[in-house]
């Protein structure tokens, strides 16, 4: 049985406080990269990894950091974690690194990383911080993948195209052509598709929340973006 506190962290990260759907943090990469499942999944997992490393590091040293310089220190730790992930990806998954290119260093500026470090890891135990970072990261990854799938199907009529870049040539045959001879729908691939798609997914989440609340007989809370 999972402890209630752990359960709370999991539900918060994946659903209730989901970075992409409720906190609306880290939207820059979310909107830029989510035009295919593979890009979304790769960047989501890279972000999750950075969040876990950064949160763990901050939680370990949280009592050593003077309050006044906590933000510069956090940014320094996050930037170091991102660079380590960036160099490692360049070395060991080179083809994928070529695809994600500029977006890996940009994880540094993703506010969800700093937000979780400041709001959670700087105050809580290392284990809880790592779990929180993992769940928030996976929550973001989930939204990215769903948005990537929607945009890829509507934009290109395929699913998982380019998977071989992440997993090797064996994955080339895994591409699913959802709509054969699809002419493409540029709006879905271009930035407006990201805004429309994300809006629809947020609406869906709020709708599900409203139905669940209605069953319990209480009014649904209005979800406000953080900051």
């Amino acid at each position: 049985m999972i402890a209630p506190a752990t359960r709370e962290l999991i539900v918060n990260g994946l659903w209730r406080q989901n970075p992409g759907l409720a906190q609306l943090l880290g939207l820059c990469p979310l909107l830029a990269i989510s035009n295919s499942v593979v890009n979304s999944l790769s960047l989501g997992l890279a972000t999750t990894l950075v969040m876990m490393v950064a949160s763990a590091s901050v939680a370990v040293v949280r009592n050593l950091i003077p309050h006044e310089i906590r933000i510069p220190t956090f940014v320094l730790i996050i930037a170091a974690a991102v660079t380590v992930v960036d160099l490692s990806m360049n070395a060991y998954v080179h083809p994928l690194y070529l695809v994600l290119g500029v977006f890996i260093p940009l994880i540094t500026t993703n506010c969800i990383v700093l937000a979780r470090v400041e709001a959670f890891a700087s105050k809580r135990s290392t284990a809880a911080s790592v779990l929180d970072a993992a769940m928030m990261g996976l929550g973001l990854t989930l939204v990215l993948v769903v948005l990537g799938a929607v945009r890829e199907i509507f934009g290109k009529g395929t699913l998982f195209s380019g998977l071989d870049l992440a997993l090797g040539p064996a994955a080339r045959d895994w591409v699913v052509t959802v709509v054969p001879d699809y002419q493409g729908f540029l709006l879905a691939v271009l930035p407006p598709g990201a805004f429309l798609g994300l809006g629809l997914i947020i609406a869906l989440k709020n709708w599900i929340e409203a139905i669940r609340q209605a069953r319990r007989g209480t009014p649904a809370p209005v979800i406000q973006p953080a900051a």
Partner: protein
């Protein structure tokens, strides 16, 4: 020491300590991953060069027999770059030039341009670019077949007036949403063909020792 000064010092030293530890970590990661990154890049380069040539058109190690080309505005180069001579049984079959399209949407687009000895393009590949992902990046062979529009083309096919994207009255297709990128690539390929025409005797000359890194003969014709 007065408490305010002391506190300031502690804060500064803490930040310095984090900076030092962070730098050390980065230096170690850099040193550890460097050989692997170089190996990945070399393998990538070898594969990328081979893509611009017809299969079976060469039997030499292209990277090992690379020679250096002096900077030339026609290739968009501001520093010496490599070019690769493809030979089969000692006969030159094609060259692969490194060229740069300096006028991409966001900075340089680095190209590898394969040209057969008859002056026809054997293949073009983008080796590095910073074009918008999902928009201008269809110039990558991995993303679309667009880059194959150059296959078999030459300086006279189409004539000079046709070496533009369709929007500018030329013969080359492009994809809606990003015109600047293909415009830059088409112009760069055209310039590279002009360079090849001017220097083809020198470019196609097989050196007596194919391995030699002949900086001298590659300088100026």
């Amino acid at each position: 020491m007065n408490p305010a000064l002391r506190e300031t010092l502690v804060t500064a030293v803490t930040l310095l300590a984090f900076a030092v530890v962070g730098s050390a970590l980065l230096a170690a990661t850099y040193a550890l991953t460097r050989p692997q990154i170089l190996a990945s890049e070399a393998a990538e380069r070898r594969a990328r060069i081979a893509e611009t040539l017809p299969a079976g058109s060469f039997d030499n190690d292209l990277v090992r027999t690379a020679r250096v080309l002096a900077p030339d505005p026609l290739l968009g180069l501001d520093r010496p770059a490599h070019y690769y001579l493809a030979t089969r049984q000692g006969q030159a079959t094609a060259v692969v030039l490194e060229a740069v399209a300096p006028d991409g949407y966001s900075g340089d687009i680095r190209l590898l341009i394969g040209i057969g000895r008859d002056g026809r393009i054997t293949g073009v590949r983008v080796s590095a670019h910073k074009e918008t992902p999902g928009l201008g990046d269809y110039i990558e062979a991995a993303k679309s077949r667009w880059i194959h529009v150059f296959d078999g083309r030459s300086l006279t096919d189409p004539p000079a007036s046709g070496w533009k994207v369709r929007k500018d009255g030329g013969q080359f297709d492009y994809m809606t949403g990003a015109t600047v990128t293909p415009r830059a690539v088409v112009a760069a390929v055209h310039r590279a063909l002009q360079y090849f025409e001017q220097h083809k005797d020198r470019l196609l000359a097989v050196p007596s020792h194919v391995q030699e890194q002949s900086h001298d003969r590659a300088r100026n014709p």
